[in-house]
C-alpha cells in the first residue's frame, strides 16, 4: 500500500532532553534527529526508560527540549512560551494516552467535546463535530455513557475521538494498546490505520507491542535516549512492514 | 502492643505532612475557641467559688438590684453587729466629665473603712489618705478617668451630675490605681448626701466580717433585722452579686455552652474528614497488613490512635494558643468585684486536652470499624 507522503511535518534535529531528579541529572534523550513526512504512520519502539514518551511529549509541546530544534507543522516549538504552546497544541495535535485519561465525571460526549470548548464554535457546531468524531470511532450509540460504563476498548476509542475532534493534522499516541486486551487492541489499531489512510492524518505511535508496530509504515527504535539508525532494530522487536 | 505500634502511627501522620498540618491547624482554631469559652465560664464560676472564701459581703434592697435604695439609718445597725469588722455606705453618683457624653461614675462612702478592710486601697500612700480623710470635699480619683480628663493630683474638679441635677466640686487627694473603683472616684458619703439634697439614702452597704464562719451567719442576721421594715434587705457575698450582674447580660451560660458544642462538633467533623481521606488512600495497605496477621482490633486501635494523635496535636496548639493570647493581651480582666483576672487555668487546659482526645476517638470510631471489617479479598479486588 502506498500512501502519498507530503513534505516533512515533524522535524527534530539534535534534540537533547535532560531531567533533574533531586541532585541527579538524567539524560532522557540524547542527540535525537528524526523527520516525519506528512501522512506517515511512524512507530517508535524501545525498552522502558528509553525516552519514547518523552520524545512524544516534546513533539506534542507538552514537554520542552533542553536543546536542539523542534519544528512541528511549520512552527518552531522551542520559541513558544507556555501559553502559546498550549494554544498551538489544541489546534494542531491530537494526543492519545495509554490509560485513556478520560474525565470520570463526564460522559463520552462531554469528554470528546472538551477540546472544542477552547474554540469559538457554537454549541450546535460543537455537537456536530463531536457526533462525527464518535461516529468515526463507532461509538455514537454510547454518547451519554460515563467512562465507568464503558469497556477498556471503548474508553480508548473515546480517547481517540477526543484526539481527532479538532481535526488535527497530527495524532500522537502513547502506547494506545498497552492497557487493552487482544480484540480491543486490534480494533483500536484498525481505527488508527483508518485515520491515517482514509483521513490523511500523520500518526506517531509509541509502543512496545510488535503487532502494533506492524501497522505502521516505518519503525524507529530508541535505546537509552538515543535513536538507532533507520532499519536498525533491537532483538525482540520485529522489523517494520515495508 | 500499643507502644510498638506508636511509631507506625506517627509515620502515617507524617506521610502527608500538609494534610496533617492543616488538620492540626483547623482543630487548633476550634479548640482555641473552646478553651477561651470554657475559661470565661470558669472565671465566672470561680468568682462564685472565690466568694466563699472572701470575707466581703454587701447589703442591698431585696426587691431591687442595681437601683437598690436603703435608708442611711441601716448602716449603724449593721456596723454594730458582732462579727462585722467594718461597714461603709455606698451611694452612686452618675455624672460626666469635661466633655458631654463621657460617663464618670463615683461613690460616696466611708473612706477609712475601705482603707482598713481592702488590700487594693492600701496601695494609696498614707499622706494621701490623710489628706482625703481631712477634706470633706476631697476625693480619690481612679487612674483611668484622670487620664481621660487630663486631671492631676491636687486639682479641684467638677463632676456634672446627670442622674442627679447637681454638680460635685471635688479636690483630688489620691489616685486609685486598681481595684473596684479604678475607673471611678470615691468621695465622702456625707458630702454627696448633702449636695444631692439630704435624701439620707444609700445604694448598698459593703461590709467585711471577722472570720469565715461569720460569712454564713451574718447575712441571715442582717436580713432578719430589717424584715419588718418597709425596705427589706438581702445580704450576700459581694462576688455573688457581681457575678449575677454580669450574667444579667443574656443567658450567658446557655449561649456559651451552645457555641462550645458547635465548636466541638466542627472539630469532630474536621478530624473525621481527615482520617476518612487518609483511610481511603490506604485501603490496600490495610488489606496487606491483615494478610500479615493484623486482626480487626489492631486495625481499630491504629486508626483510633492516629485520630486521637491528630486531635491531641490540635488541642495542644489550641490551648497553648489561648494561653499565649491571654498573656499577650495582658490577661484582660472581667470586672467582677476586686479585679478578677481572666487567666487560663490549668484545669481548663486539661479540659481542653481531654476534649481533644475525645474528639479524636469519636471522629475515628466509624472509619476504624469500617476498615477493620473490610474483607481482604474485597479490597484487593477493588484496587486491581
Amino acid at each position: 500500500m502506498t500512501t502519498r507522503l507530503g513534505p516533512p511535518i515533524i522535524e527534530i534535529r539534535n534534540l537533547h532532553k535532560v531531567f533533574r531528579r533531586d541532585e541527579f541529572e538524567v539524560a532522557a534523550l540524547e542527540d535525537v534527529t528524526v523527520t516525519v513526512p506528512e501522512g506517515e504512520f511512524l512507530a517508535i519502539m524501545g525498552p522502558s526508560g528509553s525516552g519514547k514518551s518523552t520524545l512524544l511529549n516534546i513533539i506534542a509541546g507538552i514537554d520542552r527540549a533542553t536543546s536542539g530544534s523542534v519544528v512541528v507543522a511549520g512552527t518552531d516549538l522551542t520559541v513558544l512560551d507556555e501559553r502559546e504552546l498550549t494554544k498551538w497544541r489544541g489546534e494542531h495535535v491530537g494526543f492519545v494516552f495509554q490509560f485513556y485519561n478520560l474525565i470520570p465525571v463526564l460522559t463520552a460526549f462531554e469528554n470528546v467535546e472538551l477540546p472544542l470548548l477552547l474554540t469559538r464554535l457554537s454549541r450546535s457546531e460543537r455537537r456536530k463535530h463531536v457526533e462525527t468524531a464518535l461516529r468515526v470511532v463507532g461509538l455514537d450509540d454510547r454518547m451519554n455513557h460515563l467512562p465507568r460504563q464503558l469497556s477498556g476498548g471503548e474508553e480508548q476509542r473515546v480517547g481517540i475521538a477526543r484526539a481527532i475532534v479538532v481535526d488535527p493534522r497530527i495524532i500522537l499516541a502513547d502506547e494506545p494498546t498497552g492497557d487493552l486486551d487482544q480484540r480491543s487492541a486490534t480494533e483500536v489499531l484498525a481505527l488508527l490505520k483508518s485515520l491515517n489512510e482514509d483521513f490523511g492524518k500523520t500518526i506517531v505511535m509509541v509502543t512496545h507491542d510488535p503487532r502494533a508496530a506492524a501497522c505502521a509504515h516505518r519503525l524507529r527504535v530508541l535505546e537509552k535516549g538515543g535513536m538507532l539508525p533507520e532499519g536498525a532494530t533491537l532483538p525482540g522487536l520485529a522489523p517494520a512492514a515495508g | 502492643m500499643v507502644i510498638r505500634l506508636a511509631p507506625l502511627v506517627v509515620k502515617n501522620l507524617l506521610r502527608n505532612r500538609l494534610r496533617t498540618a492543616l488538620t492540626v491547624a483547623s482543630i487548633g482554631f476550634f479548640l482555641f475557641l473552646f478553651t477561651a469559652l470554657v475559661s470565661v465560664l470558669a472565671a465566672l464560676s470561680d468568682a462564685t467559688r472565690l466568694a466563699e472564701k472572701s470575707l466581703n459581703l454587701m447589703v442591698r434592697d431585696r426587691y431591687a438590684f442595681l437601683s437598690s435604695m436603703l435608708p442611711i439609718s441601716y448602716l449603724r445597725k449593721v456596723e454594730s453587729l458582732p462579727g462585722v469588722r467594718g461597714a461603709t455606705p455606698w451611694l452612686l453618683f452618675l455624672g460626666s466629665g469635661r466633655n458631654e457624653g463621657e460617663l464618670l461614675a463615683g461613690f460616696g462612702c466611708r473612706g477609712e473603712v475601705l482603707r482598713d478592710t481592702r488590700d487594693e486601697y492600701r496601695a494609696i500612700p498614707e499622706e494621701d489618705w490623710r489628706a482625703f480623710l481631712e477634706d470633706r470635699s476631697g476625693c480619690l480619683m481612679g487612674r483611668e478617668p484622670m487620664k481621660a480628663q487630663g486631671w492631676k493630683l491636687g486639682d479641684r474638679v467638677t463632676v456634672r451630675g446627670t442622674a442627679d441635677p447637681v454638680d460635685l466640686e471635688l479636690t483630688i487627694r489620691g489616685v486609685i490605681e486598681f481595684g473596684m473603683a479604678a475607673d471611678n472616684f470615691l468621695c465622702h458619703y456625707d458630702y454627696v448626701n448633702e449636695v444631692t439634697g439630704r435624701r439620707d439614702v444609700m445604694n448598698f452597704i459593703f461590709l467585711q466580717v471577722e472570720d469565715v464562719g461569720s460569712v454564713g451567719s451574718v447575712p441571715a442576721r442582717i436580713d432578719a433585722m430589717f424584715d419588718a421594715e418597709a425596705v427589706k434587705t438581702k445580704t450576700e457575698p459581694e462576688l455573688a452579686f457581681m457575678t449575677r450582674a454580669i450574667s444579667l447580660g443574656a443567658n450567658l451560660h446557655v449561649i456559651i455552652y451552645g457555641i462550645a458544642a458547635i465548636v466541638i462538633a466542627c472539630a469532630v467533623l474536621v478530624t473525621a474528614n481527615s482520617i476518612a481521606m487518609s483511610a481511603r488512600e490506604r485501603t490496600l495497605e490495610v488489606a496487606v497488613m491483615k494478610t500479615l496477621g493484623f486482626r480487626p482490633p489492631h486495625v481499630v486501635g491504629l486508626v483510633l490512635a492516629e485520630s486521637a494523635a491528630l486531635s491531641l496535636a490540635g488541642g495542644l496548639v489550641g490551648c497553648v494558643g489561648t494561653f499565649l493570647a491571654v498573656k499577650a493581651s495582658g490577661g484582660f480582666s472581667i470586672r467582677i468585684g476586686p479585679q478578677s483576672f481572666f487567666t487560663v487555668e490549668p484545669a481548663t487546659v486539661a479540659r481542653g486536652i481531654a476534649a481533644a482526645v475525645l474528639i479524636g476517638l469519636a471522629a475515628g470510631a466509624v472509619p476504624a470499624f469500617v476498615q477493620a471489617r473490610r474483607s481482604i479479598a474485597a479490597t484487593l479486588r477493588s484496587v486491581a
Binding site: I62, P104, P115 | Y63, F65, D164, S274, A276, M277
Partner: protein, 387 residues
C-alpha cells in the same frame, strides 16, 4: 472555561468528605447568622420604639434616660417651648417620664429580671404612637401598672388583676400594652408620681414631645439642644434609640470574633478536602492541561468547586438557622441599651441569610485558593509520567 458541570459533578463523587465539609461550614454559618440576627434584632427592637416625629429631652450630659434628671422647672420650660406640637385645647403634646431599673420575679418563681420601670403621665400613650392597649388600661395612680406584652409573657403570662412586687410595694396590673414588638414591650409602666415617690426622687428623667413641624424634627431637636435657657440634651427619638443600640456593640464584636475564628478553622478544613481532591485527580488535571486548558482555567475550576462546597454549606446553614430561629429558639433576653433587659426576637430575614451564604462562599473560596493554585501549577509532563 472548563465546564461547570466538571466541578459540580466532582463534588458528588466524594459524598462523605464533601458532606462533612459542607456540614462543618453550615455550622459556622449558623453561628454567624445567630450573631447577625441578634444584632439586627436588637437594633430593630430599639428602632421600632422611636416615633419619627418625637424629640427626647434629657439632662445635659446624660447618656440614657435611666441616668438623667431634669428639675421640674426645666421640664415645664421644655414643654412650653416653641418646637412642641399643640394638641387639643392648646395643650402641648409632651410627656414626662421617670425611669428606673427594677428587679422583678416571674410568677412561677423563675430567675429575676432586670426591667425598666417607666413612670408616665396622662399623655404618654399619645406621644408614644406605637403603644396601644390590647388589654385593660393605662397606668393609674396608687399602684396601677401596665405591662408590655413581652415582659408580661416572660414573667409567666401576667394579666390584668395580677400583682407584681418591686421597689417598696406591691403593684397591681391594670393593663397590658403592645408596641409594635419594640423595646417598650419589655417595660413596666407605672403612674409617674407613684414611681417617683417609691424611688424617693423629685426629678423626672426625660421629657418626650412631638415636634410641631414633623418635617423639621431634626432641626427642632437641635434648636432645643442649643437653647441656652434650657441647657438640656435634646435629640430625635430615632437618634436616641439608635444611640442606645450602640452599647450592644461589644456583644456583637465578641460574636463576630467567634464567627471569624470558626471560619478560619473551616477554611483550613476546606483546604484539606481540596488538597486531597487535587491529589487524587492529578492525572485528570494533567490531561486537561494536555488538551489545552491553561493554568487559569484549572485554577478557576477548582476554586469554583470549593466555592460550591461553601455555598452548599451556606444554604444548609441558612436552613438550619431559619429552622432554629423560627421554631426552636425565638427570643433571647439580652442587656441592651443601658440598664435594661430586652427581649430580642431572632429575625432570619432574607438579607441576613444571604450574608451567611456569601460568608460561606468566601470560606469556600479561601479554602480552595491554595489547592487550586497547586493544581494549576502542575507540570503536565511530570504528572503524566508519574501516573
Amino acid at each position: 472555561m472548563i465546564p461547570l458541570r466538571y466541578s459540580v459533578r466532582n463534588l458528588l463523587v466524594r459524598k462523605v468528605s464533601t458532606g462533612m465539609t459542607v456540614f462543618g461550614i453550615a455550622l459556622v454559618v449558623t453561628i454567624l447568622n445567630a450573631v447577625l440576627a441578634l444584632a439586627s434584632g436588637l437594633e430593630a427592637t430599639l428602632a421600632t420604639a422611636a416615633s419619627p416625629r418625637n424629640v427626647v429631652v434629657l439632662r445635659r450630659g446624660a447618656t440614657s434616660a435611666e441616668a438623667s434628671a431634669l428639675v421640674p422647672e426645666t421640664a415645664s420650660r421644655v414643654k412650653a417651648s416653641r418646637g412642641v406640637a399643640l394638641g387639643e385645647g392648646g395643650a402641648p403634646v409632651a410627656t414626662e417620664a421617670f425611669l428606673t431599673s427594677v428587679m422583678v420575679s416571674a410568677r412561677d418563681g423563675g430567675p429575676e429580671r432586670l426591667v425598666i420601670a417607666r413612670g408616665v403621665d396622662a399623655r404618654a400613650v399619645e406621644v408614644h404612637e406605637t403603644v396601644s392597649f390590647s388589654v385593660g388600661s393605662a397606668p393609674r395612680p396608687n399602684g396601677g401598672i401596665a405591662l408590655g406584652r413581652a415582659i408580661a409573657a416572660e414573667l409567666g403570662g401576667l394579666g390584668v388583676g395580677d400583682s407584681l412586687r418591686f421597689g417598696r410595694r406591691e403593684w397591681s396590673v391594670v393593663g397590658v400594652f403592645e408596641a409594635d414588638g419594640s423595646a417598650f414591650e419589655s417595660e413596666v409602666w407605672t403612674d409617674l408620681r407613684d414611681l417617683m415617690t417609691d424611688s424617693k426622687r423629685e426629678h423626672v428623667s426625660a421629657v418626650t414631645f412631638r415636634a410641631a413641624e414633623p418635617a423639621r424634627v431634626a432641626e427642632i431637636a437641635r434648636e432645643t439642644n442649643e437653647d441656652p435657657s434650657l441647657s438640656v440634651k435634646a435629640l430625635t427619638e430615632t437618634a436616641y434609640f439608635a444611640e442606645q443600640g450602640r452599647t450592644s456593640a461589644q456583644t456583637y464584636r465578641s460574636g463576630m470574633i467567634v464567627a471569624v475564628l470558626m471560619a478560619i478553622g473551616a477554611v483550613f478544613a476546606g483546604m484539606n478536602t481540596m488538597y486531597t481532591a487535587v491529589a487524587s485527580r492529578v492525572r485528570e488535571i494533567a490531561t486537561l492541561r494536555a488538551l489545552g486548558f491553561g493554568g487559569r482555567s484549572v485554577l478557576a475550576s477548582f476554586v469554583l468547586e470549593s466555592v460550591a462546597i461553601g455555598a452548599a454549606g451556606g444554604v444548609l446553614g441558612a436552613m438550619l438557622s431559619a429552622g432554629i430561629f423560627l421554631f426552636v429558639w425565638r427570643n433571647v433576653t439580652i442587656l441592651g441599651g443601658g440598664l435594661r433587659q430586652v427581649v430580642v426576637t431572632f429575625r432570619p430575614t432574607l438579607p441576613l441569610l444571604l450574608t451567611g451564604l456569601l460568608f460561606a462562599a468566601a470560606i469556600g473560596a479561601l479554602g480552595g485558593l491554595f489547592p487550586a493554585r497547586t493544581a494549576s501549577r502542575l507540570q503536565v509532563a511530570e504528572a503524566l509520567r508519574r501516573t
